[in-house]
């Protein structure tokens, strides 16, 4: 038997005796040779490449539980849907970043409002605090003026006190200086505009006089 045969026809227990025809067996060995050639034609790294490309994906219980856990975590981190009891249509969701910006803007508005209110109220508060001073404390310091009484009695003076308090801050001073400069610029601008207006008026009068002279002359010529 030829060594290249890999099907061992002569000793296959499943083959009947009639199959062991020497002529047919030689044909079978020829086919074995062809099969060996076809197997040898495969590239050396074919098995490795195919094994890597077709590696089975494991579907174990651990993977399933991990997937379930990941889904649960995703549902937990996701914001709860907004819905109303009497409205079956949920409000459209705004992105998280957009909501953060809204919150930040609201906080800024609140802080600015609070600051403005405190600036506006602070003089009266101070006067109130002064007004709450007991007569004894005032008496203990005779040099301290009784502003509360004076402000309550004279609103104009209270207003002046407020203005004085506000004007004492450096920011107000700087804004006042800016306002003064703008006032000066407006004055200069108004002067320029008035000068221009005067100049235009004079030119218009001169032009009208010339037109009148031309028209009178033409009338005279027509009369001639």
């Amino acid at each position: 038997m030829n060594n290249t045969s890999h099907t061992n026809h002569n000793h296959d227990p499943l083959l009947p005796d009639a199959f062991n025809d020497p002529l047919v067996a030689s044909m079978a060995r020829a086919l074995d040779t062809l099969a060996l050639a076809d197997r040898a034609a495969a590239r050396p790294d074919m098995a490795q490449r195919i094994a890597l490309a077709s590696m089975p994906k494991v579907h174990s219980d651990m993977q399933a539980s991990a997937q379930t856990q990941a889904q649960t975590q995703a549902q937990t981190t996701a914001p709860a849907p907004i819905s109303f009891v009497h409205n079956s249509y949920p409000l459209p969701r705004t992105p998280l970043a957009q909501r953060a910006w809204f919150a930040l803007a609201a906080m800024v508005v609140l802080v600015v409002s609070a600051a403005l209110v405190s600036i506006t109220i602070s003089p009266s508060t101070s006067t109130t605090q002064l007004a709450d001073n007991t007569p004894n404390s005032t008496d203990s310091n005779p040099t301290t003026p009784r502003l509360a009484d004076s402000t309550r009695a004279d609103p104009t003076r209270a207003r002046e006190n407020q203005l004085a308090t506000v004007a004492a801050s450096p920011e107000v001073e700087s804004w006042l200086s800016v306002a003064t400069e703008m006032d000066a610029m407006w004055s200069v601008g108004l002067a320029d505009i008035s000068a221009s207006a005067t100049d235009l008026e004079e030119r218009a009068q001169t032009t009208f006089a010339a037109d009148q002279w031309i028209s009178e002359t033409s009338i005279d010529n027509d009369a001639i």
Binding site: N2, N3, T4, S5, H6, T7, N8, D12, L14, L15, P16, A18, F19, D21, L23, V24, S26, M27, A28, R29, A30, L31, D32, T33, L34, A35, L36, A37, D38, R39, A40, A41, A42, R43, M46, A47, Q48, R49, I50, A51, A53, S54, M55, P56, K57, V58, H59, S60
Partner: protein, 219 residues
């Protein structure tokens, strides 16, 4: 003997390998592919005569098998080889069907390529010419007879396994195989009048290198 009929210990080995591969053992899967890859490849190569196509079919077969094994759809009952080669045969049949449809629609370019390849092959060395002769004789077989011959010799399956795979009685299968070999012999003798041609074909290659070279010259 390069490959024989699977013994009981071989089946146990395959079973343990499949279980390990299904559990995610990559080395076990590599072992399976290395054990059966070339046999599946040879089966596809015999029919397609194109290394790239044969390799593609082989990969497709193992991807399918891996998906079934990994998902637990396949349960090993000592018939892994039959199942593997059934998947392979179905892939090869699909490919041949596509090729024939293309040829039936009058793809003249493909026909010319085949004719040129056969012509070139006939001008090659004597060994290559003999292989070409054998392949031409196999082309003359019916599809059913050719499948039996290829499963037996290229796939290395036993007749019992082929009987399970094709769901045909063993006796019928043996008779058809015998008839197919006789027809092959007659076809070869009609194509080549030399009396020693069969014995020359049966003598085989002197080394695997020459077999490899002889085949690559045809590819």
């Amino acid at each position: 003997m390069v490959h024989g009929s699977p013994a009981d210990d071989h089946d146990c080995d395959v079973t343990s390998l499949l279980q390990a591969a299904a559990a995610g053992d990559g080395a076990a899967w590599v072992e399976i592919v290395e054990r059966y890859g070339r046999r599946v490849f040879a089966l596809a190569q015999s029919r397609c005569r194109n290394i790239d196509v044969a390799e593609e079919i082989t990969q497709s077969v193992f991807v399918t098998v891996a998906a079934k094994v990994g998902s637990g759809e396949y349960t090993e009952q000592g018939r892994f080889e039959q199942w593997l080669f059934r998947v392979a045969m179905n892939r090869i049949r699909d490919h041949i069907r596509r090729i024939r449809r293309r040829l039936d629609t009058g793809d003249e370019a493909t026909l010319n390529v085949i004719a040129a390849r056969e012509s070139d092959a006939s001008n090659d060395t004597e060994r290559v010419r003999e292989i070409t002769l054998l392949r031409s004789a196999m082309d003359a077989l019916s599809d059913q007879d050719r499948e039996i011959v290829e499963l037996r010799h290229h796939g290395g399956l036993s007749f019992k396994q082929i009987s399970d795979l094709l769901e045909e009685p063993l006796g019928t299968l043996l008779a058809r195989h015998h008839r197919a070999l006789k027809k092959l012999r007659e076809t070869i003798e009609s194509l080549d009048s030399r009396p020693e041609i069969i014995s020359r074909l049966a003598s085989g290659f002197t080394s695997s290198d020459s077999a490899d070279n002889g085949f690559r010259a045809l590819s």
